[in-house]
Amino acid sequence: MTLSVKDVSVVIGATTLLQNVTLDLIPGQFLGILGPNGAGKSTFLKVLSGELSPSHGTVTLDGIPLKVWKDEALARRRAVMPQASQLAFPFSARAVVAMGRWPYETLSSSFQNHRVIERAMAIADIRHLGKRSYPVLSGGEKQRVQLARALAQSFGTEDETDSKYLLLDEPTAGLDIAHQHAVLKAARDQSKNYGTASMAVLHDLNQAALYCDQVALISNGRLVASGATAEVMEPARLSRIFGCTIKRQAQQVKEALSFTSSL
């Protein structure tokens, strides 16, 4: 019961965006994807979400290739929070969150939908924005509405047992520091409390170290390392990938890793 990427390559024209990547998303774990700009992180997320078909290799959910899945059935298993989403029409923030319940249109009662939407909005800290028109919200507020929508989608129905997958594309971009932590906490809680396999494309090493159970490092389209956060985030390896000096700060046992960087 996993979302698995096996030996996947993506070639567009003469450019290789991903090369022989193999990785599993494990239910109950929060995976952080790290890597320099243009490394192929977003491409990897697109492959996982089914938006992009790999030129080589397979992506399977529960052993069944993504292509075979019906859009609707797939939507009940994995939710995606996009990097930026514009909306030209005056939907209320709440209505946008409610769109996350579309895959459960015929499966979930309006009462349950209501509860899920309220919970998602509470987690994303947008309950006070519910009646505001989405197009006039600030960039950060829009991001949080999109998060709530993805959460509402990944909550599913009460009687489901199948594992869920939550994919977040740079979820902290454009957010203030408090809300950055809130988003990452939400993703981690989703994994911890509901057995969801969460995955986020991140840039901040310390945040990754603080929230992620697992980390995958991508550089030049290749998966350099993946596994438990503490094992993967070696200062030497990070320095090599990011092309700058990264040091791990002295720490006590049980405290999260922390890094400093300099050129």
Partner: protein
Amino acid sequence: MAYLSLAKIRRRKKRDGASYWLLPLLLVVLFIAILLSLGIGGVSIPPLASAGHFLSYLGLTHSDLQPQEILILEAVRLPRTALGLAIGMALGLSGAVMQSLFRNPLADPGLIGVSSGAALAVVCVIVLGDSLFASFLEATSSYSLPLAAFAGSLATTALVYNLARRQGATDVAVMLLMGIAVNAIVGSFIGLLTYIADDSELRSLTFWSMGSLSGAGEATWPSIGIMLFASLLLLRLSGPLNLFLLGETEAKHLGVATEGIKRQAALAAACATGAAVAAAGMIGFIGLIAPHLARLIGGADNRFVLPAAALIGALLIILADTIARIVVLPAELPIGLVTSFIGGPFFFALLFREFRKRRA
């Protein structure tokens, strides 16, 4: 799985947030407009008397109208009102669907070549009909213009749609650009044929391009049928089209079979608009204004906007046609003239309102 059985139990539920209560209200207003349109015209027949006449078929009342009044009601006003209703619905709905599909509040079916295709076909028949398509004209007689318009709009839309296809997927942004290019080329052909046209053909073209419901009658019933059918198809798309507004990728992530929806939306909108253009020529602005008015009164949720745009479109056409019929008696104005005359300033008002809101 457990939720499959639940699916059958909880089929249709109340949706939160939208102003569905406005729909019956619109229906009542539309009904009043229909009575008005049946009751007003060159020959004065009191609206109540005409309503009484129609009720007499049900055995409810006794009709006390003169034969000539009955002729006017049944052979002139009734088919016209029916055609107006269908056209208003078709144009309002197609506009709303196109705006959602292209995520652009200014979109209308004309963008994907529906109108220009119909226009080119009609210009061909009017200008070249006698020389090149004589057998077509003979075989189709009074249906030749509607048939040509309908075929033209479908063909152009199919062309735009297929030009925008890349590896089995259609990008709506590419579709928009292809539409602009195709419209430009089609426009040049129309210009060329207009140049060849003689005086009376030019007049026919001009009037056709301003629209009129005066052709309502037996020849327009097939168009009405197509419009109703296509409208039902379009109404079914309201839910998925909401998600389209977030973006195509997002819609797909939420489980919408986007390619299918795009194909259905383009085809049904082309059918609806094509049939409308076929029956009454070009009637501008309804496709743009009806959805905007719907959003103005009840919010942007397509599950409200689509049916409301259909009702408002019908209402606008019926009112515009009533005006067109009576202001220059015994002649009548082209209805497109009335809709643009009212629609233009209305659109200004809409824009200014929007600007004010943005500044605030």
